[in-house]
């Protein structure tokens, strides 16, 4: 701290020094006067003896200074004053930098928080997702990213593993909570023992679910999420030990998980035990996500080997019931492919983020070239001054330092503004909340972001500052060239040309990427999703737990009643329901179907997606009936052996939709044959960009094929589709809720959204990337055009004399204009050529983001160069026209 007090006591020191010297001179003068000298002479003599007072004061002061630092400070002050004197320049540069650096900081922050930061669990490096591959189980394993675990697999791994410290499986379902305010549907995380132990985050209150809570017939317990605890109980700790009614069953609250805790990548409201009965579980039931914590020192490869060892144990220890071959699953060729949990959480979002980061980085480079150009022009006008300073003894380093300092000052000020831009950008991102961006709530502007901004500010200012500094620190010869505003030297023009070429090339890469995304988006929009007029299709999810309505027939009747009430609402043209509607992430079931008369050899038929539908559902959703007819309620209640199928299944099995009607199929060899009564168009069930799966539609009530004796079962969790012009309106939603509650007041209504919202979410990844690239591409184009305009415009102003001479010698104006436009076109042409090559190489990396077009789409590669060249022509024509308007007399006289 001493230097600080020194800094502040400095001016006092300086005063003291002056007074000392002053007194010194006075005394000497008086002495000389005592010797008889007249005062004037005495003063003069005293001063002569003393020497140069100012110099000495300076030397004395230097003792207290850091000379180097202070001269830099002086330079900075000077640079700052100069910037204030040209506000236009300063504002342009600062805005460019603020937006450029700000955008980069925002994207970096997202990248850092999402990709780089470890997951918010202790020792996250040892967490793995239990990922199994099963190439032999088509459908089941392909679509759901690997094969999920069955309860019996969980027990096998938990009991026999040598490499896993803890292991658990989990699932997120919906559940109904009643008895608090109005009935509501909550997200219930269902976990086995080992899930919380694996994640290792201690509870905020109370305790974890214990192994004892997993007893299938034990006491019913539950934990709450922090958010749900706050929202429903105001964070009251006395809630521990109280009961809460979930799916009509009271459960004791034993603990609360802390804020920000997520079940891997899922939010939840309540956390309940899965409570599997080990004696009842079968081999099948692959519906759970598995996580594990490796033992210290164990590697993923060792764990894979461990799992491979355990799979036969699994098949030996469990079965699918009497008469089934337990080693049947060998045909599925199940192999472990454990992966770090982080990879599971992130999915393929890294791809998108890297493309966005690269894009924004390119924009920053373009922005830097533009700023460098501006600085070059600015320094050009100071050439005289710099030459004079060099002649007076300023060293090359000193001049370079001053120029660089100005750039760094600009960079740092820009960086400061950029923090605001980044903050606003992240707020916007959080508000938009792209559905497929994981860990969105973990994104914050932190010290690392600040560090990145600082680094980027410094690096970019070095980049755009180095060019003028290098060029003009050798300005010594400028004086000898005289004061004539002659044409620019070839060298300076050359560096600006290179920058324009680079800008055009970079802009081309960005625009090509943006257009590829736009074309992908268009291609996605033309895909027939399997429903129509999504904006007028209201969806609503209702689940009817067994504890509320035990009888399956009553469930179907209740659902039927709801449909009738919904259809009675004014403005509703039709209503229906299905176990799952497209693109909402629900897969009711996957299983085999055998088509009559088809030989499957030794193998098994592939797995198909099963859905359960009500009569009128397809008409409501707008899914076209291609052949046959819809179901009737009589068929549903009568448990008639009928079903409907999707077009692709019909074509695959019987050749055409119409040929399918009246044909028969069944699930297993013992089950009765089922007649196909209708064929509907294909539905993009898993998203617009995923292939439409083959789907078998069963009636909403059916005989379960999974029990030894025929047992009636009904779709208990269903999505209602309501066709109405009033879809999405607030008053309409209230009426819909009233209609449901008039049938049963304990039923919560969830996921009230229009199909348009669902559809938009399905396009979210593409549209997010598209918007980012479109913004970047537009910025690049604008910056590129400004760059070309600037260069040509500057070269016109520098070549006024030459233009004057040409005009005086009779050069036609058209030719003169063409001369400037041509030089711009040559630069653009070179930039385009380089850019096309670069784009061809770089866009390969975005293949996974494209849909329906190749990364070498000829249309894109033709259009973008055309846009760039015509923009360049326009940008250069304006200054070129000014050149042609030069009055030769004026131009030559100005030379004086």
């Amino acid at each position: 701290m001493q230097w600080l007090t020194q800094l502040f006591s400095r001016s006092r020191r300086y005063d003291d020094l002056s007074s000392s010297i002053h007194e010194h001179l006075e005394e000497r003068t008086e002495e000389l006067m005592e010797e008889g000298m007249p005062r004037e002479d005495a003063e003069r003599a005293a001063r002569r003896e003393f020497g140069n007072v100012t110099l000495m004061e300076e030397h004395s002061r230097e003792v207290w200074q850091w000379t180097r630092l202070e001269s830099i400070a002086a330079d900075a002050k000077f640079a700052f004053r100069r910037l204030r004197r040209s506000p236009g320049f300063a504002v342009t540069v600062l805005l460019t930098l603020a937006i450029g650096i700000g955008a980069n900081t925002a994207v970096f922050t997202v990248l850092d928080s999402v990709l780089f930061k470890p997951l918010p669990y202790p020792e996250p490096g040892r967490l793995v997702a239990l990922w199994l591959e099963a190439p032999g189980a088509a459908g089941l394993a392909n679509f759901t990213d690997g094969l999920r675990l069955s309860p019996s697999l969980y027990f096998t791994f938990a009991e026999h593993s040598r490499t896993l410290q803890s292991v658990g499986v989990w699932q997120v379902n919906s559940a109904n909570v009643t008895g608090l305010a109005k009935p509501e549907e909550v997200r219930a995380g269902l976990v086995t023992d080992g899930v919380l132990q694996t994640l290792g985050v201690p509870p905020a209150a109370g305790r974890w679910l214990s192994a004892e809570d997993q007893q299938p017939r034990g006491a019913r317990r539950v934990m709450l999420s922090y958010g749900y605890w706050m929202a429903r109980f105001g964070g009251d700790r006395a809630v521990i030990g109280r009961n809460i009614t979930i799916d009509s069953q009271p459960r004791e609250i034993v603990g609360v998980m802390p804020r920000g805790f997520r079940l891997v990548n899922q939010d939840f409201d309540v956390l309940a035990p899965l409570a599997f009965d080990r004696n009842q579980v079968k081999l099948a039931g692959f519906g759970f996500e598995g996580i594990a914590r490796l033992r210290p020192g164990a590697s993923i490869a060792q764990a894979d080997a461990d799992i491979t060892r355990m799979l036969p144990i699994w098949m030996d220890s469990f079965s699918n019931g009497p008469g089934t071959k337990s080693h049947f699953y060998e045909t599925w060729r199940i192999t472990p492919a454990l992966r770090p949990l982080k990879q599971q959480v992130l999915g393929n979002v890294g791809n998108v983020l890297w493309v966005v980061m690269a894009t924004i980085g390119l924009v920053m480079l373009i922005a830097c070239t533009n700023v460098a150009n501006l600085l070059l022009v600015r320094v050009d006008t100071r050439q005289q001054e710099l030459a004079v300073r060099a002649a007076l003894g300023a060293s090359r380093g000193r001049i370079a330092r001053e120029l660089l300092l100005e750039s760094v000052l600009l960079g740092l000020l820009g960086g400061l503004l950029a923090m605001g831009v980044a903050y606003a950008g992240l707020q916007l991102l959080a508000a938009v909340g792209p559905a497929n961006l994981p860990r969105l709530d973990e994104i914050t502007l932190d010290a690392r972001s600040l560090g990145f901004t600082l680094l980027l500010s410094l690096l970019s200012s070095m980049l755009f500052g180095a060019i003028p500094a290098l060029k003009y620190s050798r300005a010594g010869s400028a004086l000898s060239r005289g004061s004539r505003t002659a044409s620019t030297s070839r060298e300076h023009r050359h560096s600006r040309d290179v920058m324009v070429v680079a800008q055009v090339a970079m802009a081309l890469v960005l625009l090509v990427s943006a257009l590829l995304m736009i074309r992908s988006f268009q291609a996605l929009r033309t895909v027939e999703p399997g429903f129509s007029d999504a904006g007028h299709l209201q969806t609503m999810r209702i689940s009817i737990p067994e504890s509320l309505v035990p009888d399956p027939r009553a469930v179907t009747r209740l659902e039927n009643n709801i449909v009738d009430r919904l259809e009675a609402i004014p403005g509703v043209t039709s209503a229906g329901f299905a176990a799952a509607m497209p693109m909402q992430g629900n897969d009711p079931n996957w299983d085999e179907v055998r088509v009559e008369g088809k030989d499957y050899g030794d193998g098994d038929p592939p797995l198909r997606l099963f859905n359960d539908v009500s009569p009128g559902y397809f008409r409501t959703a707008g899914t076209r009936l291609l052949a046959g007819r819809d179901l009737t309620w009589d068929e549903v209640y009568g448990l008639r052996p009928v079903a409907m199928v999707s077009e692709n299944f019909a074509r695959e099995s019987w050749g055409s939709p119409s040929a399918a009607v009246g044909k028969r199929m069944r699930q297993f060899s013992g089950t009765p044959w089922v007649e196909v009564i209708g064929v509907v168009e294909d539905v993009r069930h898993n998203g617009v960009d995923e292939k439409a799966p083959a789907i078998i539609y069963w009636p909403a009530m059916f005989n379960s094929p999974y029990t030894p004796k025929p047992t009636i079962d009904a779709a208990r969790g269903v999505t209602f589709a309501i066709r109405s012009d009033r879809a999405g309106k607030e008053s309409f939603l209230t009426e819909v809720q009233q209609a449901v509650w008039s049938v049963n007041a304990s039923l919560p209504v969830a996921s009230l959204e229009t199909m348009q919202t669902v559809y938009g979410r399905s396009l979210a990844r593409t549209s997010f990337t598209l918007v980012m690239l479109a913004i970047a591409g537009t910025m690049a184009l604008a910056l590129g055009v400004i760059g070309i305009y600037g260069v040509i415009s500057y070269s016109v102003s520098q070549r006024t004399r030459e233009i004057g001479i040409r005009l005086a010698l009779g050069s036609p104006k058209g030719e003169l204009r063409w001369m400037f436009v041509r030089s711009a076109l040559v630069l653009t042409g070179v930039g385009v050529a380089i850019g096309v090559i670069a784009a061809a190489g770089l866009t390969r990396f975005m293949k996974s983001l494209l849909f329906g077009i190749s990364s070498m789409d000829p249309f894109t590669y033709a259009l973008i160069p055309l846009i760039l060249i015509s923009s360049a022509a326009l940008a250069s024509y304006l200054p070129a026209r000014r050149a042609a308007a030069v009055d030769p007399v004026e131009a030559l006289r100005a030379e004086g």
């Binding site: 007074s19 010194h24 006075e26 000497r28 020497g51 000495m56 030397h59 004395s60």
Partner: protein, 114 residues
């Protein structure tokens, strides 16, 4: 350093020693220091003002001296410099190292004469 050819350059550290030694007798202001050194050395040594004031500032920074407001011989306000404990320690170290050096030089010269 010297304007007068009769006065040869002082070696490094000599000026500091003389200032410290002078101030050890009593606190003084700048001009008094110059006069004191000139007098005591019988005009053999002359302190140049051009070196004095920067040296004083250096020594203030090293905290060998402290300065306070005082009055000059003529009764006008000026800065009086005073030796600190640290300055005294430094002076004693320097003096002993000088003495060794002088002794060495003297012996070498004595041998050369013989």
């Amino acid at each position: 350093m010297a304007k007068n050819p009769e006065h040869r350059d002082l070696f490094p550290g000599a000026l500091e020693i003389m200032i410290l030694q002078s101030l050890r007798l009593k606190p003084m202001h700048g001009y008094a220091l110059v006069k004191h050194i000139k007098q005591v050395s019988d005009n053999l040594l002359q302190v140049e003002e051009g070196s004095l004031y920067p040296a004083l500032q250096r020594m203030l920074k090293e905290e060998w001296l402290e300065s306070e407001m005082g009055t000059s011989a003529k009764g006008r306000p000026t800065r009086i410099y005073r030796l600190t404990a640290a300055g005294l320690r430094h002076l004693e170290q320097e003096v002993s190292s000088f003495e060794k050096m002088f002794a060495g030089i003297t012996r070498v010269l004595a041998v050369a004469k013989a």
